[in-house]
Symmetry: C2
Subunit: 95 residues, 2 copies
Amino acid sequence: MPAMTRLSADEVDSLLRARTHWSLQDGKLTRVLEFQDFVAAFGFMAKVALVAERMGHHPEWFNVYDKVRIQLSSHEVSGLSRNDFELAARIDELV
Amino acid sequence: MPAMTRLSADEVDSLLRARTHWSLQDGKLTRVLEFQDFVAAFGFMAKVALVAERMGHHPEWFNVYDKVRIQLSSHEVSGLSRNDFELAARIDELV
């Protein structure tokens, strides 16, 4: 399946089971993280930024001090694609 | 005046006049920026992160691809302080 096909609800459910730290919010793949402090939080964001840029698939995210909220979706397909789960998996590896 | 005193509405109005790219939203000093792409947007965020960490005063911010929304406030005084305007001025220099 191409990375940029829109996933069906069943496919999303199936892939979501493997990503225990993520949930669906506003139709987006969402993970909220808390770090020790801003240095740790932004250091993590810098790592994710490099991975995302290399993938050509970027998160939307919010940060305040030690907290980071990441939301993934694929506007090209108005939903979720395999790219979102791939980026989520890489983010999990970085945490 | 100490940097961490809560500013009065008049003081905020006065300081806000010097920061033409900023407005008050949800009681927070807010600026929305758009860059050429993610590399430019996140590169800017990295610069702001270093300045914020050095000041010991951090933004809350949202990024999606080429857009960055920054909101500044001082939870220690439940409002705005001179630190917020100082950080805003430094951010303006970085843009």
